[in-house]
């Protein structure tokens, strides 16, 4: 089902506003991640979609229907909580059957359906166990099965992978993607881990301090960050950020003077600093001094000094000695200028031929 927020705001005690006039539409059948740092309001947004929390103002639509006034009972969404919230006193099978029991589905049908779902999430060999004796990954699968049991038109996942170890996390995010594609249910996935969001979703909504920063595909977020926050938040290693004053006249001939005058911050992705001339892709050249040079497996990281500021690059081909002078070629893709408010005014697709 399509989910639409219209000017939705939320404040907890009437004075402190947590979410400010959110407007977005989540298309039917897609997997959308809500991504943001801790305390940005992403879980709160999910709670409002589920109906566990009511917005202070604004309207929420499921399809064409205004559900703002409906509570969680009436909205009938499926939800997986961060700590799974499986009923500790019920066996796995009973946990999955619980929503069906509440919907007064006949017992035999309930069982059949629950077993089918358990197979879908690969926990059909654990049906008689209590949640306490399952591993984190298994609990998570049961929680997904329970959320899917009543065939919700909307599946909400609140940081479902945060309690798992690194390897299992990667496995489970592929599982979630598989289950979502098999069932075709519109899924909203809350996470603070950009890696998770980038790998799993069709679209990503980045939230910060209660405002939507950007809502687009993962690729667009990386290639065309709409502002400095997105540029710094997305990408590993983090984008190099320096002030425009740190440049002497390296940019003068390559960027429009009008734009240069408005620019405040410069963002350079670590892979946009090449040690060889790339011809048409090169925007400008700068001279730096090598501070440190490290190699781990395939990775080569060089920390450079540029007019007293530090720059990191991952694109060095030759071996470097500390203290040596190094000319670098700034690539057009991965170079951004931001104005006083942090909005991007140069770089991204529009400036790459």
């Amino acid at each position: 089902m399509e989910v639409t927020f219209k000017d939705v705001s939320l404040s907890y005690d009437g004075s402190r506003e947590i979410l400010h006039r959110l407007n977005f539409t989540i298309p039917e059948g897609t997997l959308v991640s809500i991504l943001g740092p801790s305390g940005c309001g992403k879980s709160t947004t999910l709670m409002m979609i589920s109906g566990l929390l009511a917005p202070t103002s604004g309207h929420i639509f499921f399809g064409d229907e205004d559900v703002t006034k409906q509570d969680a009972l009436q909205r009938k969404v499926g939800m997986v909580f961060q700590n799974y919230a499986l009923y500790p006193h019920l066996k796995v099978l009973d946990n999955i059957m619980f929503p069906l029991k509440m919907a007064k589905v006949p017992k035999a049908e309930r069982r059949e359906k629950a077993i089918k779902l358990a197979k879908l999430v690969h926990v059909d060999d654990q049906l008689d166990k209590k949640p306490g004796s399952l591993s984190g990954g298994q609990q998570q699968r049961v929680a997904i099965a329970r959320a899917l049991a009543k065939e919700p038109s909307l599946l909400l996942l609140d940081e479902p992978l945060s309690n798992l170890d690194a390897r299992l996390r990667i496995e489970m995010r592929q599982e979630i993607r598989r289950i979502q594609q098999e069932t075709g249910v519109t899924t909203i996935f809350v996470t603070h881990d950009q890696d998770e969001a980038l790998h799993i979703s069709d679209h990503i909504m980045v939230l910060n301090s209660g405002k939507i920063q950007q809502f687009s595909s993962a690729e667009t977020l990386y290639d065309n960050p709409s502002n400095l926050f997105i540029a710094q938040f997305i990408g590993e290693p983090v984008i190099n950020t320096i002030d425009i004053e740190d440049f002497d006249d390296e940019l003068t001939d390559h960027v429009d003077a009008e734009i240069l005058k408005r620019a405040k911050k410069v963002g350079i992705r670590p892979e946009a600093l090449q040690d060889h001339d790339t011809g048409a892709d090169t925007l400008a050249t700068i001279t730096t001094k090598v501070k440190t040079f490290e190699k781990f497996g395939r990775e080569k990281n060089a920390l450079l000094d540029f007019h007293g500021k530090r720059l990191l690059t991952t694109e060095i081909e030759a071996e470097l000695a500390e203290g040596q002078e190094l000319p670098l070629y700034l690539q057009k893709s991965g170079f951004y200028l931001f104005d006083q408010e942090g909005t991007r005014i140069f770089g991204g697709d529009q400036d790459v031929e």
């Binding site: 009972l73 909580f81 009923y87």
Partner: protein
């Protein structure tokens, strides 16, 4: 060290640490228990010189043929069956309500806890007046519903009911606090999950609150059963040192008290104590067995 092997020295040291409490427990608990078990078999006993000249089962035989003891057992069972379920249900209901209100919640909690810290004698005096046949509040209240005046404490038909009502009320305070702790320990997430799963308020209560509260319910009921089997001071205080009109509130402990302190029949008193011990043991074992299947930790 955590992985230290027990040696003679370390065991001796541990014993030294335990000794102060051990001395008190042995003197005031273990020894009297053993002594009363032995005493229940005294059939010929000269208590002036502490000489036992004969052991046997005569005391138990006497109990099984004593109509007073039959009354005592019957009354004790009525009291337990009357008090425990009512205490559990009412204190759970009040705890649920107290858990809901935020306004002056501290004050209300204190008010409900007060009976627990008040002396039984004081409580009994207050209820004595409430139950008063001519001027009592309870009869006054009942008169609004057209109920004729009841002589609560003087009629053998109502004395046990009066005792049960007062005991339930007295027990509420502590059990409410226990239930409140239990309710607070239930993670809000379970209720949210249940709501998402389509459970209305009643289904949330039966499917989340009741099963997750079962350890506390178990504690409260075991505690209540043991406490109720041992009831004595409420009776003594409410009926001014008598076991109620025509023995209508005579319980096992009251019987024991009478045999021991007024009739000096130590053997019989001890035997009735042993019978009470096995009754409590039986019920508690049953409760433990039941809890294995229905209590979720």
């Amino acid at each position: 060290m955590l992985n230290e092997k027990p040696t003679l020295k370390s065991t001796g040291k541990a014993l030294l640490y335990l000794l102060p409490m051990l001395i008190i427990t042995i003197t005031f608990n273990i020894y009297p228990i053993l002594k009363s078990f032995i005493m229940s078999f005294y059939t010929k006993y000269d208590f002036f010189r502490d000489i036992v000249s004969q052991y046997g089962f005569d005391n138990f035989k006497f109990l099984f043929s004593d109509p007073d003891f039959h009354i005592a057992v019957k009354n004790t069972l009525i009291f337990v069956i009357g008090v425990v379920p009512l205490t559990v249900i009412i204190s759970l209901a009040i705890a649920l309500l107290l858990n809901r209100i935020t306004w002056l919640s501290g004050l209300f909690r204190t008010v409900y806890f007060l009976p627990f810290v008040t002396s039984t004698v004081a409580i009994a005096q207050v209820w004595h007046w409430i139950y008063n046949g001519d001027y009592g509040l309870l009869n006054y209240f009942l008169s609004f519903f057209g109920v004729n005046a009841i002589s609560w404490l003087e009629s053998p038909h109502y004395a046990m009911l009066a005792l049960i009502i007062m005991s339930v009320w007295k027990n509420l305070g502590f059990n409410i606090v226990l239930f409140l702790v239990g309710l607070n320990n239930i993670n809000e997430r379970y209720y949210q999950a249940a709501k998402i799963d389509g459970a209305n308020t009643w289904h949330q209560f039966t499917n989340v609150t009741v099963p997750l509260l079962s350890p506390i319910t178990f504690l409260v009921s075991v505690n209540g059963v043991i406490g109720s089997f041992k009831v004595f001071d409420e009776i003594f205080a409410l009926f001014n040192g008598t076991p109620g009109p025509s023995k209508s509130a005579l319980t096992i402990v009251y019987y024991l008290y009478q045999k021991f302190y007024t009739e000096w029949k130590y053997g019989i008193a001890a035997a009735s104590g042993v019978v009470l011990f096995f009754m409590i043991l039986l019920v508690t074992v049953f409760q433990l067995w039941y809890s294995k299947r229905h209590v979720h930790y």
